[in-house]
């Protein structure tokens, strides 16, 4: 189905099933431990052996030798796969560093060997008998130092945001110089780790030339193609299956070493092999969100009209790696005739930087939305009012392009009302509650809506059950449930008459899970397939499909009504199609918007920050399931609190690795860090996005939250911290007198 004109009235608009806060249909499996994740699939193939990955102990150089003799002799060991016995493998889609093969070490904990043994304990013990001889080389590990030689770069995040090396509108320098009020500050955000709860894991089995991988991956079709490239085999001979994914956040967009080494290990051992990356390996072996250094300049008239805005960001990566696209949202979020955005990329020999939840916008808004708070204060304006004054209904760089639907103002106004913003004391450090200094802050949230092709197959059986098959993934996003809701709505069935099967590369290729594009595109693909199935049903029943109504398990047309299952009484009927997009998103800018509001308490004596209240008001088109969508948003808000207050991969700039590479050292929010969170969805639809009239919401929740926390800390204490995370050591020596 080609979607190239705005959606009119369609069966989804009935909202009998779609739009309801339905419990997840996979909930009973997740809560009973019966949902099968990759490493646990004892049932799929017999005789699984255990693989254990060994990572490099240096950050850069060559492996002169790898003595695996003792490991090979160790009890229970079936095979040892050495990187020195393996030619350098090709790169998969969006891989920057080689996953395995050859003597070159590009980053710390790069996989150099896999031990396959009868048991996990034997494989682990044998792996530590391997002796590596490294020829270590000096590398660049310090972004602040490398930034001086960073080069202008254009690039995309792979998840929607992207920018040129330098993009200009008007004459920024002149307008900034002429501006009555000017702001010019530099911000830093640290390297961050996805830290999803389920480690990367794969079971691999060969049957002749055919390879099956039961794995944990967000993008099935990408991965199938990538594995073919990496392993040098035909994609037709590969099957990838990933029905449950224990979190991804971008860390499982791409094929990683677990999948490659499970495949190589299974080949060497001549039997199925299961491999999970150990937790301490993940931060350095896989990808991370790169640190940034961001300079923001804003010029405005005395009454708060932005006349000039510039956002420049420098990040680092391995050679051929991509920049963190932290400037992209600044092209679209606020008005202003004179604009400049630019990116630079420094060469670093740290592990590969790549997409993490809202790549670009998450760190970009952490800087921009502090800048807006500071600028509002310079102007003597309320931060909410300053943002509303600079709202734009068109792409400021291309004024002929309107937004398809933009209600940022509604988010900010409703949020301010709901949160009690009018009671905020704009003078910092004035509000006390016992030994707590209390402050509230806000920020705008912004993330683009991505349209991408997505397919599905739906089948109606003789019992009247509709089964949806698509390689779409559910990484906690609620895909199972919203896909079932879509099919139920389209076919006029209750939810329990729909079966959803996901994550298998034998199913039609979908949008997959990334860039908050999953929900809208995958359900639109299911919509398209259901249109085909409706046609097949109508034809079978001899009903004109144009005026057929599918409701209450029946198909009705005029005075006729027939049970849906009658159409499939003598054989299953199926429909398969994809949603494909025309140029609607080029003509009009499709984005999602939020207003984030946060209250913090800062301990007067210790400068400990506690988040006390959080609210997000979101404008993201039709909300397909308010319960699971709300969870996506509070999850983003939680990760945003982590980014603001604690998350930072500590770089050893001498040895070139992330030191705190486990869940004890890399701190993420826990229960005690997160208060009750409130989310409001504005009641809206966006007919430009798809027949579902929905947009992405999974990453909007993290966009802007960090700055809202930072602004609340400023309001509480009067201390402005521009270097994330805002740990208490950055506050302590500047705290107001406790007396």
């Amino acid at each position: 189905m080609k979607f190239d004109t705005p959606a009119g009235q369609n069966p989804i608009d009935q909202l009998k099933v779609v739009g309801k806060p339905t419990d997840r249909i996979d909930g009973k499996y997740k809560t009973t431990g019966t949902a099968p994740y990759a490493y646990e699939r004892h049932d799929v193939v017999a005789n699984q052996a255990y693989g254990y990955v060994l990572g490099a102990g240096v950050a850069k150089g060559r492996l002169r030798g790898l003595n695996v003799a003792a490991a090979r002799r160790a009890p229970g060991v079936i095979a040892v796969v050495s990187t020195l016995d393996t030619p350098k493998l090709g790169l998969g889609r969006m891989n920057t560093a080689s996953l395995f093969g050859g003597p070159e070490i590009q980053h710390y904990h790069q996989a150099i060997a896999l031990v396959v043994a009868e048991t996990f304990e034997q494989a682990r013990a044998a792996a530590y008998l391997i002796k590596a001889d490294y020829a270590s080389e000096p590398g660049a590990f310090d972004l602040a130092a490398a930034a001086k030689s960073a080069k202008p770069v254009e690039g995309g995040s792979g998840e929607g945001s992207g920018s040129g090396a330098e993009d200009r509108t008007g004459d920024f320098e002149k307008a900034f110089a002429d501006a009555a009020v000017r702001f010019d500050e530099t911000f830093t955000t640290p390297d961050e780790s996805h830290a999803m709860m389920e480690p990367h894991a794969t079971i691999a089995a060969w049957e002749g030339d055919k390879l099956t991988l039961w794995t944990s991956n967000q993008m099935i079709a990408w991965s199938k193609g990538s594995l073919a490239k990496i392993l040098g085999i035909s994609a037709e001979n590969i099957r990838v299956d990933s029905p449950y994914i224990g979190g991804g956040f971008g860390g499982k967009l791409f094929v990683r070493a677990d999948a490659v080494l499970a495949a190589l290990g299974a080949k060497a051992a001549k039997r199925p092999v299961k491999v999970a990356l150990t937790r301490p390996l993940i931060a350095n072996n896989t990808t991370h969100r790169p640190a940034t250094i961001q300079r923001i300049r804003i010029g405005a008239t005395k009454d708060g009209q932005i006349t000039a805005i510039a956002h420049e960001s420098t990040s680092g990566n391995l050679p051929s790696g991509r920049p963190e696209t932290a400037v992209d949202q600044t092209k679209l979020l606020y008005a202003g005739a004179n604009r400049l955005t630019g990116m630079k990329l420094a060469h670093l020999d740290l592990p590969e930087g790549n997409a993490m939840r809202a790549p670009g916008e998450a760190p970009g808004l952490m800087a921009l939305e502090i800048a807006m708070d500071e600028m509002a204060e310079k102007l003597g304006l309320d931060p909410v009012a300053f943002r509303i004054r600079n709202d734009t209904q068109v792409d400021p760089g291309h004024p002929e392009r309107p937004f398809s639907h933009r209600n940022l103002v509604g988010c900010l106004e409703q949020g301010a009302e709901r949160f009690g913003w009018s009671k905020r004391n704009p003078t910092p450090g004035q509000v006390r509650d016992g030994h707590w200094l209390v402050g509230i802050g806000m920020a705008a949230g912004f993330r683009n809506n991505q349209l991408t092709k997505s397919g599905a197959r739906v089948r109606l059986d003789a019992k009247g059950i509709v089964t949806v098959e698509t390689d779409m993934t559910d990484i906690g996003t609620g895909s199972y449930t919203i896909i079932a809701q879509t099919a139920a709505e389209m076919m006029g069935l209750p939810l329990d008459r729909v079966v959803v099967r996901l994550g298998d590369s034998d199913f039609p290729a979908s949008a997959g899970s990334g860039g908050q594009w999953g929900a809208n595109n995958a359900t639109a693909g299911v919509y398209a397939a259901c249109v085909k199935l409706r046609e097949a049903v109508a034809q079978k029943l001899g009903i004109n499909s144009a005026d057929a109504v599918f409701a209450d398990g029946e198909v009705r047309s005029g005075n006729r009504a027939a049970p849906l299952a009658q159409a499939s009484a003598d054989g299953d009927l199926s429909g398969e199609d994809s949603i494909e997009y025309g140029d609607l998103s080029k003509k009009q800018q499709q984005s999602t918007f939020a207003g984030h509001f946060v209250e913090v308490g800062v301990d007067m004596h210790t400068a400990e920050v506690r988040v006390r209240r959080m609210l997000a008001v979101c404008a993201a088109g039709r909300i397909l399931n308010p319960k699971s969508a709300r969870s996506q948003v509070i999850g983003g808000m939680t990760m945003g609190v982590g980014a603001a207050l604690m998350e930072e991969l500590a770089v050893d700039t001498k040895r070139g690795f992330f030191v705190n590479h486990d869940l004890a050292g890399y701190e993420v929010p826990v229960h005690a860090d997160i208060p009750h969170q409130e989310v409001i969805f504005l009641d809206e639809v966006d007919p430009m996005s798809s027949p579902m009239k929905a947009k992405g919401v999974g990453e909007l929740g993290i966009c802007g939250v960090g700055a809202a926390v930072a602004n609340a800390i400023y309001n509480a204490t009067g201390i402005r911290v521009r270097d994330y995370p805002i740990t208490l050591d950055k506050l302590l020596d500047r705290m107001p007198d406790a007396a």
Binding site: K28, H194, M196, G246
Partner: protein
């Protein structure tokens, strides 16, 4: 949806699988630690009760309780998020107390009474805490969920038993199931998807207070 992936776990196959996996490790029967050379794994027998069923295992002594459940008994509901006691995904209730099953060796649990997520309830027969997690969407990806639920059940029992926490204000008064108590006691169970706000609501409901 009638099964997690259109397949039903076949109980008989599970038992057969467990037996086969057990057979792999029958090297030196009754080996003594001092007799074992560097390259001989030490096996030991352990008998424990898991979800009401007596299980006899012969295990490499290095096997964690978590791996005994996941790899030998094929009870994969308990998750391995870190294997270092940092995340709580492996939480089981052992002799009435919640523990990180990755931080304890299986052979240390002779005659232990172990309850895993599978023992609390099943898809057609949910424990009230499991049902509350579904109702309040107290999960997203689901990987930390079994640990959160086991921990949640045990936390309410701890409060009922009058075991204080860091945030308990009055050690002499009756213990209350407050949101602060829940957040404090649950902080060993990380949820990276960020379902905390909903988990607190689910637990509050189960504790019999309005959410």
């Amino acid at each position: 949806m009638t099964s997690p992936r259109d397949f039903e776990l076949n109980r008989r196959e599970l038992v057969v699988g467990a037996t086969a996996a057990g057979a792999l490790t029958t090297l030196p029967k009754g080996a003594q630690a001092e007799q074992a050379s560097m390259d001989q794994p030490v096996l030991a027998k352990v008998g424990l009760t898991v979800n009401g069923q007596r299980r006899e295992l012969e295990l490499d002594t290095r096997t964690s309780l978590l791996d005994a459940a996941r790899e030998h008994l094929h009870l994969t509901g308990s998750k391995k998020g870190c294997d270092h006691g940092q995340c709580g995904a492996c939480t089981m209730i052992v002799d009435g107390r919640r523990i990180n099953a990755c931080l304890t060796l299986a052979v240390m649990h002779q005659d232990s009474e172990i309850v895993t997520i599978e023992g609390l309830g099943q898809p057609g027969n949910l424990h009230p805490m499991q049902a509350a997690f579904v109702e309040h969407d107290g999960y997203q990806c689901g990987y930390c969920t079994p640990g959160q639920i086991c921990s949640g059940v045990a936390v309410l029992a701890e409060i009922k038993a009058g075991i204080p926490s860091h945030v308990t204000a009055d050690l002499n008064g009756p213990m209350q199931v407050t949101e602060a108590e829940i957040r404090e006691r649950m902080s060993g169970n990380i949820c990276r998807c960020g379902a905390y706000s909903n988990i607190v609501e689910a637990m509050t409901e189960v504790a019999g207070r309005p959410a």
